[in-house]
Symmetry: C2
Subunit: 142 residues, 2 copies
């Protein structure tokens, strides 16, 4: 039977979150309010472990909390199709690609600045990096 019970600490460990994060997810409605012991301690089931894993992994993939709420809605409510999830994943992949492109441009700019700055014993007044940062449209020089 799958009626193993988990304390919040075990749940957290099991899914790689911190206890405070579980509290937080409960507060914002990502995780349901679990049953409690007499004394008020939360008692979780394996389904909670699965759900929290889903959330954590989605976060790792760069989904925002609001997006994860949408994903969980698909899962919680019946009558949804794989296509909706697929579409979200594709959108996410595109957003990630854009971030990568931005960072690539960044890196090139930084490396160029470093290359220009050959004589690192220069006084700060002659530093090409400082210079580059003071001039307009660094980003567009790239």
């Amino acid at each position: 039977m799958n009626d193993v019970k988990y304390s919040i600490g075990q749940l957290a460990k099991e899914s790689g979150c911190k206890v405070e994060t579980v509290h937080y997810y409960e507060k914002i409605g990502l995780m349901p309010e679990p049953p409690r012991t007499e004394g008020g301690h939360r008692v979780f089931a394996f389904s909670h472990v699965k759900r929290l894993n889903f959330i954590r992994r989605s976060r790792e993939l760069g989904f925002k909390i609001e997006q994860i709420k949408d994903l969980l809605k698909f899962i919680d409510e019946p009558n949804h199709y794989c296509g909706e999830v697929r579409a979200m994943a594709m959108l996410q992949a595109r957003a990630v690609q854009e971030k990568i492109d931005d960072l690539q441009r960044l890196k090139v700019a930084l490396n160029e600045m470093v290359l220009k700055c050959k004589d690192s014993n220069n006084s700060i007044d002659d530093c090409p990096i400082v210079d580059a940062l003071f001039t307009k449209q660094v980003a567009e020089q790239i």
Copy 2:
């Protein structure tokens, strides 16, 4: 002479920030407190435009506020060398590369999930993406 004066709105426009951002930078000590008019409006000089441009561009390159404070310290205080700035830029470039690598892994994971999910009319119960997110160590499958 370079004694052109700028209102906060002009300063903001000139350097691509919002007025509130200038207020904020002043509050946290990135920008100095400028002189004021009788009525209390801030009056900026060209040096402020340059400084704010430096800050904005550094932010665009992914430097954190605290790092920019360090960079500005180099510039504000005498007896600093180009090498210190160069070292920070190199560190920054490396950090950016790491972020790029992370995102690449992300993108691959997302794309693989999308590819596996061929039949988007499937019910959500059979969605390989949802499946992948529920299983452990998605990130390590990549």
